[in-house]
Symmetry: D2
Subunit: 255 residues, 4 copies
């Protein structure tokens, strides 16, 4: 049975989705009628719930994918298609430590906190306090905030950590912080970047080698969704054409 | 300092890569000369090593991305671009349990074992014993085999587990095993599939709803690599155009 | 100097575009003020014109690309990205004859009429009269209507022509008209199809060989636009993910 | 019946293709046996021919697509996917005049000569004489050489024509020739470019506006082929990821 404090997802057949932290009492107003928390507290995940209008919703536990999509945002967020790949390239799993900057709305932070587990740690830097607070709230809602240290500081001054397992920089001019990143990273460890323009990619590539980062890889990931109709299978009409270029490299010994 | 038994990666400037488990003694023959394990045992990750011909290699710790790429294979493997997305959609992180079938060469198994951590568990089904053995060897090499139970069984007979957090089926006719998957899955939990042809996708979609799996999503992920040359930035000439379609759904209560 | 009756294009710096057939007198109301036809009659292509609010528009001759984009439509039109490829695959140039069905709004008809020249001919079949009339109007506006014969007939009854150089079928169930197409086509000549779903493609492929059409090719064409800003070059955020699959084959001798 | 001097295409079921200009006598050696020209002279397009080993080939008239693909090349050629779009954007049809530089192996030249017809003209500039000669030979083989004037000259000295309907520059540093192109183009007329790197695109964009070229559009076109098997429809494994970026603009009045 669902417990109070649990984050749940209500989805109807058309895919309309509501995320709510379950309360002892109160109502959820959907586009197809009202569902009460009392109803939810009597259910398990995977079950159906009817609104007061008799419309059906499914009660589901959000996956990491859903959590990322549900982040309350004041900024552009990093997309799941990119996050999945970032996790593999940065070798993120249970027990790892990682620095990210900037925090933004906390979409990537959510994924990082999820995969590093209780033994891992995310150090998330952000200059604009309103974003730090928003991200903290987003992480708190899903009980992952204890795995994250939100740091409200200009990274030009350097990072407070040393020997971290990976760094991800989602900032406008990452080439200005390569020395700071170099100091904070464990030898041989991976670093990643997200940049929207080709000009930024060129500038970053030119700086990476000079700063003892090896083996740069530049990629972009495209995702195409299909309308899931068995007898009329076809891609959707529109797709996201660009989020950003992903760049990865490794810290190597200065020669 | 690198310890014997560690899996290391040697990479030169052109990207030529060698994976080796470090021994007390012996040689690694590269295309640019010989490196001895004794040399490696005196180094740390991120440092350079010279071959007997004076050529430089970097000594790196493989990331999850590298581990997947380095899997010894007798089958087509699932690509990192797809694996990253699968992890998010299946909500895989520390402590989760997952069933996969078939094991194949163990590329996805590697990623699953990596992210579920020591508290998690992967149940990997495979009918052809030679693949089970190959995958087990691949996982043993990176000390992740203890997190995996390799099961050599026809999944038509059903799965031995119940209440698992997720299932991934990479088999030719997954619609034949939906009831078995339904029984094994925790209510509300996600299931994923990889299928190469559109006909298979149509057939699967037609079966999913009948078997109480909700909210099917069909996607494909494309990755495009760029030549990382700052002053001549451009996509590579060729790319992988297709690995497979990814399909995801959720187990819901039978009504 | 621009003559009355000429189709012109007015474009401002933001890309806002107006197509008009030049009259002796009258006004064009743009989003940035009014331009009179008298002003246009004093200008040449490539020159600027000011609205009564002092805003600048460029006076341009529409290219084939612009003509296709400017078609007044009541249906989904075939996109330039697809049309360009269709022209090459169907070998369309001066003097060729082609059958198309259905006419739709006349976007492809426009391109066909343009490239076959005054010696060529387009036979355009359409069952719904309102579309035939709309397309005829679209072609008349650009003085290409004399190259097209609009035929308002069910193609199940067959085509009225024989020995045409190419056929293009943009209809829902093209496999029902393959025999009719076979009769109308010159031996060895190419035929093309546009189909939105994978199921339709499979059905068509199954029928092509049975009807003595050889060498089927299935493709899709994706176009990605970039924001043309030199110092911040990047793809646009969204793109068209799917218009349809293009299928091509050749009529061969029945054995 | 096929006449001597005709360019024909022989294709077998696997898609293996041979292009030959039909002679009075002689043999064609295929991978599945020999076909004589005498056999071909007794056939029509669309018919089958047997090799001396009893293997079947189809006798087909090459389409513009095939002609482009069959160009004998010493350079990278422009692909059909790009050429189709170029034709639309440059408004090329019967009677038009166009300048292209450089000629290269003549793939684009082939398409241009094809579509401008007997009343049109292609002025094709190339500095390296061996390419001019190769392209001329390629065009002669398909009897389109009379529509092309091959000019062996450095375009820095300017173009010999004025008032042409369009220009296409496939050269490394097109921004060095914008003034020359401006002089040669009809007012308002379109100009196109193909460039492989993002850096070149940025440089070109920065120069276009300064040289009174309006409305730059930057695109890239991707083509994805499918295995044409009805019951196992799927994209091919590999695809061309990049040929070049296409850039288009218009000559406008200098203010």
């Amino acid at each position: 049975m669902i417990q109070p404090g649990t984050l749940v997802m209500l989805v109807n057949k058309k895919g309309k989705t509501y995320f709510r932290t379950v309360q002892e009492t109160g109502d959820i107003h959907t586009n197809e009628g009202v569902i009460s928390f009392e109803q939810i507290l009597e259910k398990d995940f995977g079950q159906t719930i009817s609104t007061h209008l008799g419309k059906t919703f499914y009660l589901l536990r959000p996956t990491l994918y859903d959590l990322i999509k549900s982040v309350k945002r004041k900024t552009q967020i990093i997309y799941p298609k990119d996050i999945g790949y970032i996790l593999l390239k940065l070798n993120l799993g249970p027990g790892q430590t990682i620095i990210e900057a900037g925090t933004g709305s906390g979409a990537l932070t959510t994924a990082l906190a999820f995969v590093v587990g209780q033994e891992g740690k995310v150090f998330s830097y952000e200059q604009r306090e309103e974003f730090s607070l928003l991200a903290k709230e987003n992480l708190k809602r899903i009980s992952l905030d204890t795995r994250v240290e939100f740091i409200h500081q200009d990274i030009k001054e350097g990072f407070q950590q040393q020997g971290v397992d990976a760094i991800f920089l989602d900032v406008r001019t990452p080439w200005e912080y390569l020395q700071q990143a170099y100091v904070a990273l464990k030898p041989g460890a991976p670093i990643g970047f997200l940049l929207p323009t080709t000009n930024q990619v060129s500038t970053l590539l030119a700086h990476l080698e000079q700063n003892s980062f090896f083996g740069p890889q530049v990629t972009e990931i495209l995702i195409r969704h299909y309308k899931p109709v068995p007898e009329r299978l076809r891609p959707t009409d529109q797709m996201v054409a660009h989020t950003g270029f992903l760049i990865f490299a490794r810290k190597i010994e200065t020669q």
